[in-house]
Each structure stands twice: as C-alpha cells, then as structure tokens.
Symmetry: C2
Subunit: 646 residues, 2 copies
C-alpha cells in the first residue's frame, strides 16, 4: 500500500510553464494546407496576401443611374439638370460595373424619369458618389491576414473574396484519451455495474470538453490495471497522430500508480501533483517522441480541473489560439468556504438573482460528485494564499451557463420533494423556460435562506407539535420581520420506507427501537427529521435506542436507496420515494408541503411562472399521479392555523 | 427598374416575433434518439431519470483502512487503539467498496502499521468518515435532467454514470443556403473574376457562422438569376431535411427581386425589410410546408446582420437553446457616429486599450466591406431612437475577439506603409503574439489620434518644407503638451507609380499638368498628399491643373491598383506598392517614416515588443527586402532637425 502523497505539488501556472519550457511546439504541431471553406477555427501558419481586389472594378453602390458628376453640378431644386440616355446617363443596379466614362451614381429615388430616355436631377452629384471603388474592401497583393490569426467565419468571406482557395494552417491539436482501471466498465457495452464497479464516463466528458475548445479528441476502450497492457496502449496512442496522450486514472488508487510508471517508461514525468483541489493528483510529462503526456485523476471533478487548468492552456499554446473564455460575474457567497492554505480551490456554485443581488451557494466539494458540475451555474477559485472565503463575500464567478439562462434561473432552497423535480421539468417546457436551481438543505435551511435574502422561494413542511400547524410558527420565530406569502404545493404522505415484502415486519415507530432494525435518518433541520422526533417522543422512544439514528441522508430518495440496497431496514420518507424503487411503505402522517415566497418577489416573472404552473389543473393531476399526494390545497395561499384543512 | 424601397420595414425584434408567431416549431423540429456520447450540445426533448445510482455502493473515498467507528472512539494521541486485520480492519483503496460490517475509513497517513496484521490509531473515526455513500452523487429513479436542457460536456459524465446510453433530443436545426446571381462565381471552380463579377463567399461565411451557433448548415452551388431555376432550387431545399432555407441575394438588385417572387411562390413573405443598417433588405417568410424562409441581402455585412439578428434568434428558438453570447465591454468612441432616426445601426469598431482606457474607432460603414468585420474587434448598436453617438461617448461594445486577444492588441493609427503589414505579421509570430490593429487615416490623422489619447502609436511621414525636417514641426504645432518619443521605422522612396512600360512617358511632376494624364490622389491629411502639394508648388502647378486631383484613395496600394486597372495613369506612392503590382516607378523623394509614441507608453509590453522587433537586424533586412526602403535610421530615436541624416 503506497502512501498517496504528492510531496512536490506545484501551482497550476507553474505546472503549465514547466511543460511549455519542455515541449518543442514547432516540432510537435505541423502545418498543412486547408481548403478555405473548411478553415473556420484554424490558425494561419503564415501570412495571407490578397490575390484579387474587392471590388475588382468601380461599381455602383446603389440602384440608379451612372452620370458624370461635373455635368450635374448646376442641378438645383426647381432648376433641374436634364440628361439623355447613353451620352448623359446609363442605368445601373447595385453591384454593376460603373460604365466607362461615368464617375458617379444617383440613387433611383432621386431621379425623375421625364421620358423614355430623359431624366431630370434636382441635386448635384459629387465625384465617386455611390461608387464602390476598386480595392475599396481588399487590395490585391496586400497583407490580408497575418500569421497566427485564428480564422473566423467572417474571415472566410474575406479570404474567398480575395481569391484565396487554400490556406496554410497549423494542424488541429489532437488528443487521445486512454481510460484505465479494472473496476471501470465501458459504456459502449451498456453494462450494469456491481458493487465496486463504475461506468467509465470521464473519457466522453473530457473529449467533449476538448472538442469544445477546438481540439480533435478520441477515446479508446478502457484498459485494465495491467502495466504491460497500459504501456502498450500508451505507445499505440503515441504512435498515432495525437499530439496529447492522456491516461485517465480509474477511481482506485492502484491505477494511479501505474500511470506514473507507464509515463516514465514512455517518457519523463515533469509534474506529479498540483497545488489544486480538486485536481491534485494530475501528472504531466513529455513522451520520448516529444508529445505531451497527461495523467488525469480518476474522480470526475478532479479530471475536469486537470483538463481545464492544465490541458486547456497547453493545448491552446500548442495550437496557438485562445481557449474560449467564460463570462465573469460578481456574486455574493451564501456560505463560508474554508480552504487549505497553499492550495488553489475550485468551488462549484449554484448562482441565481434574488431581487437585485446575484447570490451563489457553494455546492458539495467532493471530487467524485459529477452532479456538482452539472448543477453548478458557475465556478469560483479560492486562491492558494487564502484560508477560505467568508459568507457574504463578493467573489468573481466564472459562468458555466449562458447569462440568458442565468436570468431565467429560479433559486429555490429548502426541503426536497419529488414534486419539485416534476415542477423543474414542467417549467423547462414553457415557451419562456424557467430553470429551477434547487438546493436541498432541509426545511429549516430554506427558512434560513429566506432570512438571509438568499432565495426567491423556500420549500418547507415543518410541523409544529404544539399548535398542530405547519411552517407559520417557524416563520414567526425565525423571520418575524419579513412579509412572506405561503402557497401550498401539496399535502403529502410520510411513512416508513421498507424493503419489498417487509421482511422484518415493521409496522410503525415502535419497531424502530428493535435491536434487529437498522434505521437510516435524515439530516438535522429536515422537516422529516422533526416529524420523526415528534413520533419517537410520542411513542416514548429515545434517539439512542434507534440503531442508525446518527446515519443521515439528505433526500427521500437517498433514504429509499439505502433501504433498497439493504444498507438500512427502514427510513422515514415520502410514498413517492418508496414507489419509485418498488419498496413497501407504512404511512405515519399527512403533512403540508408549502412554498414560502417573500411577498416582494411575487411579481418576479420566475415566481409568476412557478405559481401559474402550480395552479394549473394539468400540473396538479401530475402531482397526484405520483401517488401519496393530495392537491386540494395546492396553489392556495395558506394562513396561520389552517393546518391540513384549507 | 424597380424602386428598391422597403416601405414596411419593421424593427428587428418585431421581425423575429412575427416569425415566431407564424412558425409551428413543434411540427417543424422533430425529436430523435441520440447516443449519449454524441449528445453534447443537443437539447433534451424530455426529462431524464437516473437508472443507476452513483456510487452504486458505499465506497472508500481515500486510500487507507476500513474500520468500525465505534471501535475507534477511545483512540487518543499517546493512547492508541489497536486493530487486527480481518476482524478489526480491512485495507481499502479509493473507490473500493466498503467491506461489509465496516462503517468508516481512516486515511493511510493516519495509520501506524505495527506488525503484519496490526495497526494503531491515535485518533477516533466518526461514522461514515471518508465514505462515499450510495447515491451520494446520483440517486437511481430521480430526475437527472429536465426537458429543454442543453447537454454540456459535464452532463455526459452524469448521464453515462447514471446508465443513460441514449437520450431523446430535438433534431439539430438544419439550414440550407442557396447563393444566387448571374454575376457570382462559385469558389469551388477557383474562378478569376472579370469586371462585374464577384467570388461568391457569403454562403461559406454564413454557414460557418450558423455552425458556430450549433446549427447544421450546407450550401448549394450558386443559382443564376432565373426565376424557374431559383424556384426549383428553393423547392429542392425545402424538400430536404433543412428546417431553414436561405436564398442569398447576389450583389445586384435584380436577384433581390427574384428572391421575393420565389418566396411568394413557395410560401408567403411576412417581413420585407427591417429597420436596421446594414441588413435592411432582409426577407422572412414561411414556406408552404412550414419551414422558415429567409432572403439574405447580398452585401456581406448586411447578410451577417440578417443572420446574427434574425436567423440566430429564430434558429435558437427553433432548437430551444441560447445562442452563444458575446462578451460586452464599455468603450470610448473616438469619432462621432451619425445615424438615421428609426433605424438600428450596427457599427464595427477597432478596439484597443490605450493606457487605462478602452478606445473604439468606428470603421467604414459600407455594407459591402467584409474587411470591416475581419478588422473589427467589436460591434456596437446605435438604437433606432438615436440620431447617432457623440465622439467621446461611452458605449457598450459586443466583442468579436476574445478578451485575451484584445489585451494583446496594439492600436496604431496614422499613415499607411507596407512595412506596417510586415510588422503586423512578425508581431503575430512572437511567443507572446501582439495583434496590430492599424487604422489608416493619414499622418495628420495619426497625430490627431495621439492628441486625443486614442492610440498607443502613430505612423507619420510629414515633410515640413520650411525646415526640411520631418514630423517634429507638426508635433510641436499640434501636440505641444505631450512628451512623444519619435522612433524611425524606415526611410522610404516616394515617386510616381506608372503603368508597366510607362506608355504615357511620364517623367516627373511636370507631366501631371498634361491633358492626357489622369492622376489618382491620396486623401487630405496624408503625408503623401502634403509631399505632392509641395512638389506641385515647386513646379508651379496648380491643383486644378491636375486631372484626378479630386479622386482620393487611402493607401498606396489602392493608388497602385487604380494605375494597374487603368482607372488612372499615375499616382504618388511608395516603391513597394509599384513593385508589388509589377508597375513602373519614377522616384521623386526620400522621406522619413517614423513611429510616434507617447513616452508614457514606452513601458507598455505591446510597445516594447514593437520596438524590439523594429530594432532587430532580421526585421530590418526584411524591410530592405521590400525594395525602396533604407534602414540606416530604423529603430533609432529621432531628434528635431535631423531630417534624413541620423
């Protein structure tokens, strides 16, 4: 068992500079002739000089008549100059060559046709008026574009107009990706992973990223953790036309060690470990044949950071282009972000506009969680010289979503319910789609977000045993100063989620105290946990009597998955979660799940769309279709003391 | 001859809304199954629910040992807990399943191996420490992505991890482009345009633009101005799988009229003319089979505006995605931009940072000049309710270049010289390339730009007959308050550019007064024009005696092209221009072409790169290689009174 420590981690920029110094890009990336019509995005390897002028002739810039300017000088309103067809004027259309002997064009709108072959002008024309001159746009033999220019769509128009049918360009940068690991399954086989196995997906994700930057990228099927097989795969990739060969580690540590060994067999390792989190176990090196070698970490977020912060700048440098830039936005952090001194940390953010503020909630930081990237609208960096960022701090975010999408994103924070997913999907089907960004931090977390002005809406189902009411007692206690409109989303059934067939014969809360029953709990602050505590208290059971009371999950579905896989015998959750996984369910309580919306946001178009959806009979039918929900209060504004009776 | 007036022009947004209301996108753009690995950029036609959880098992998040947390609670520094292999602990690597019965992982760094099968721990582990839980990332059956989501590279990772091998996506939006016009030549034939002919390039440019937005786009060979042929081509395109059929007008007016007629034969026209400049003669309609019909203007910049402002939003709406956004930047206009009330004007801008200011020079506005797009770094809009923008106004620019490139752009304004093109090309070949953005407004224009703080550098060759010196008398007069460093670029030869073989036997300035000699002049403020005026005065010739004195070109090469094509018999210019086109040359004068650099900018890295280049012997050899240049002063700092003697 090798200690997985990178003693010589270097900052990202230093890692990139080290490789730039070691690579010979002139030798590595060649030049080739490319047909102009296929050259968009390619980088010119040499200057381009125009072969043709544009226009190649003096031409009319307007529809009208060609004239001699000096013959029109006397023309005035009420005292026209008359010209005869042929010697005095000639009709021209836009783009037509100026007939010989003429030097100006009068727009047809300013020409009075007096007879078949006589016109009258009431204003003089100046020389070269409405004439496009020879070479006005492009002059033959002149420099049209310098070397190193990345050819834009517009450039294609200029190149073809100038008679350039081919250009000399640098080769596109090509990348080959080798996934590795005994435990990874090739998605091409459509596998079913067993415990200890994962579907290999980094190669697809990273190749797609690379293509987005303008690279050509391809993957090979996964190679098992076998030094000879891995070396053979690396040599084959190095013998191909790829300029960059990436060995993608599996998710286990063993394969990482092989990566370094293989890199040393086919070249030399220059960077082993970077001062970044995620992304630390990245390797960089140069192959014997001069190609760039990369060892990408196995965790998806680490691999993405490795690609975005190391491969992207190096590939752009090899290909002599600027990698696409992300738009920046100043956002306000909703939570503190601790960070390790000496390490640059990349934090994924859920970003949304709440009133006039752009607020950003840091997402979970596990490098293994790909959904922290798919759910994020932005990313921020904690520089290595900082020990973290404070809650409320304004930080620069790099946007992962287009600004237009961000403007349509509805930030909802609080308790999780499957109906929110239903809502998220339906809102995206609107003519003006609304994207829901929901962060699941439990009902109390949602109320706290409203308190801090960090969400447009919170989802909560907090039961107050003293009053028998929902949510209002908590709003009165925690956000007494805010005017909040409470709209019911649904009444739902909570109960014990049990293995199919209920093998342990669990009938109710009393069974949770049994020695042979392993429970899976929800996190502190979750309405479901408060409900559980209420039922335990009523039944006279102490938390320490419940095995698994200290094991927490954050969503109903996660609880159900624990039951499905046998990690627990039961958990408290909603019927929909049990139904989705084909599990048994013993109902314990009906409760009200409400949307809490600061009244000042009711006019926000995103909230308006949300309410319109919640109030539509079609949507309510879909809520009921999930099972375990009632919609007799759905869409209605709740008042204190209503409880479950609208 | 039809009057080319669009009586019912509508604002761009109204044109787009009109078409959205008339098109049935549900019927037009279908759905299809796409392999996940090929789905980046595609838009989901329905929700995706996870099939697998990720992880599918509790797994180790670190290399180390699996333990039972409760058996470690007593561990303290100096008072370790000892565990035995098998019953007490089990080695695990990152990603491995947590062995049954264990509930926490201790990092290998915190494990003291005491014997083959005994370890000591000096700190307790908490339950689920360093354990990735089942479904921590993705929970099977839960909504993974809603309908309408555009699939990112990251999303591919999440989809494959969740066992999603295919997704239902909307078809990519497909566009077919039909170039038209008797006068346009197909670049595929590698043609040589004669007067009245142009190389068709709009189709390639616009298809490349469309691809950049995510469309599939293809062109057909140009169709001549023949109603039946055009209708047949339109029907063929409408019968293909394209969702959008574009008829691209030729550069003459005739073909525009055909476009409307053909559109009416195969569908109906809903918009004929938009309140935009360029772009006004755009047409939009709906085909009988429900497809989007577009009539694109013939001038390239008009066609680009038609595509960017009409086709782009409509295609994005059809495909249900956000078109790529351009970064925005506030820039200061160097010149007034007049504009027509009621028309939205699109102004191309050369943008660069001068000191701390971002300055933007409006480029020529002719819709036929594709180089105004290739030379522009940004575009701005003059809203229809304004009559223009004032010089000095701060306006929002939409960037056409990446910000990183803009930061490396060196703004040089002033007289044109071929050596500047040489310089532009060499500067792009540096390891840290510098992009030169040069605006040719003559020497006096360059000095005015320095006066206004609008350029990092000006190129000038102003001869002062009274002192026999160059540039300094003008600097003293026009920018007395600025400290400007004058560095010589080259001494160059100016003379009369003549047709090959000098058929009119022009020997010198005296011949310019001849009746049979047609001259082509440079614009007011150009150093060359001042030189001409000096020589005319010395020879006792009045400007009105010179035929063509009032015909102006802006560059030496444009003057030479006039001579080459016979539009003029001679013009004053540099030897390099005559040589490039194989023309004859009669030397009149040697002059100093200097770079005028405000001294405060000497430390700017772009200026430093420029000066280093100018001072390199290799570059000076290239200057001399052009012919007509001397470099004995090149790179040296000039002082008043030096004249041509360094």
């Amino acid at each position: 068992m090798e200690r997985n420590i990178y003693l010589h981690t270097v900052p990202l920029t230093q890692a990139v500079e080290t490789l730039k110094a070691a690579l010979d890009r002139e030798a590595l990336v060649g030049r080739e002739d490319v047909d102009t019509q296929d050259a968009a995005g390619r980088v010119l390897a040499g200057p381009v000089f125009a072969r043709y002028s544009s226009p190649t002739f003096h031409s009319a810039a307007m529809d009208g008549i060609a004239v001699r300017a000096k013959e029109t000088f006397a023309a005035r309103e009420g005292s026209p100059v008359r010209l005869r067809l042929g010697q005095g004027y000639a009709p021209v259309n836009t783009g037509h060559p100026l007939p010989a002997g003429f030097d100006a064009v009068v727009m047809i709108e300013n020409v009075v046709q007096e007879g078949e072959d006589t016109v009258a002008l009431e204003a003089p024309a100046f020389p070269m008026q409405h004439v496009r001159r020879i070479g006005e746009d492009i002059v033959a033999t002149e420099l049209l574009m310098p070397q190193g220019r990345r050819i834009s769509a517009y450039d294609l128009g200029a190149l073809l107009s100038a008679g350039i049918w081919q250009v000399e360009a640098f080769e596109p940068v090509r990348l080959a990706f080798i996934p590795t690991g005994d435990e990874v399954l090739d998605f091409m086989q459509r596998p079913e992973p067993k415990a200890g196995q994962v579907v290999e997906s980094n190669s697809v994700m990273l190749c797609a990223l690379a293509r987005f930057w303008g690279l050509e990228a391809r993957r090979v099927p996964p190679v098992p953790d076998n030094l000879e097989a891995l070396e053979a795969a690396a040599r084959q990739a190095l013998d191909s036309d790829a300029h960059i060969v990436v060995i993608g580690a599996g998710s286990s540590a063993g394969s990482k060690d092989y990566t370094r060994t293989v890199m040393e067999r086919v070249g030399r390792v220059l960077v082993h470990g970077v001062a970044a989190m995620p992304g630390k176990p990245s390797l960089l090196g140069v192959a014997q044949n001069g190609k760039l070698l990369v060892g990408a970490p196995g965790y998806p977020v680490s691999a993405v950071i490795c690609f975005e912060e190391l491969v992207r700048p190096l590939a752009a440098w090899l290909g002599r282009f600027d990698a696409p830039e992300r738009a920046g936005l100043d956002v306000e952090l909703t939570r503190k972000v601790p960070s390790k001194l000496g390490t640059e940390e990349f934090v994924r953010l859920a970003v949304g506009r709440v009133g006039q503020r752009w607020v950003a909630t840091p997402l979970a930081r596990g490098a293994g969680m790909i959904t922290t990237l798919t759910r994020a609208q932005a990313m921020t960096r904690v520089p290595e010289q900082l020990e973290g960022l404070e809650a409320g701090a304004t930080v620069r975010a790099e946007l992962l979503s287009p600004m237009a999408e961000l403007d349509r994103t509805l930030v909802i924070v609080g308790s999780h319910d499957n109906t929110l997913d239903l809502l998220a999907n339906e809102l995206m089907g609107l003519a003006e789609p609304v994207r829901m960004s929901s962060t699941h931090v439990g009902s109390m977390g949602g109320i706290n977000a409203l308190k801090g002005g960090l969400a447009l809406c919170a989802g909560a189902h907090l039961f107050d045993p003293e009053t028998g009411d929902f949510n209002f007692p908590f709003l009165a206690k925690y956000v007494p100063d805010q005017d909040i409109t409470t709209v019911n989303l649904a009444i739902r059934h909570q109960g014990l989620i049990l293995a199919k067939g209920n093998p342990k014969c669990i009938k109710g809360v009393a069974d949770l105290a049994r020695e042979d029953v392993r429970f899976i709990n929800r996190q502190r602050g979750a309405g479901t946990r408060i409900l559980l505590d209420h039922h335990l208290k009523t039944a006279g059971i102490k938390p320490e009597q419940v095995r698994g009371y200290d094991k927490e999950e954050f969503t109903h579905m996660a609880v159900a998955v624990n039951v499905l896989t046998g990690a627990a015998d039961c958990g408290l959750g909603i019927y929909a979660a049990a139904k989705a996984l084909g599990l048994d369910f013993v109902e314990l309580a009906r409760e009200r799940y409400d949307l809490l919306i600061p009244t000042r946001f009711l006019d926000d178009p995103r909230i308006a769309a949300l309410l319109a959806m919640v109030r539509s009979p079609e949507f309510q039918a879909k809520i009921r279709g999930q099972g375990g929900y009632e919609t007799n209060l759905t869409g209605q504004i709740m008042r204190p003391g209503m409880g479950l009776e609208g």
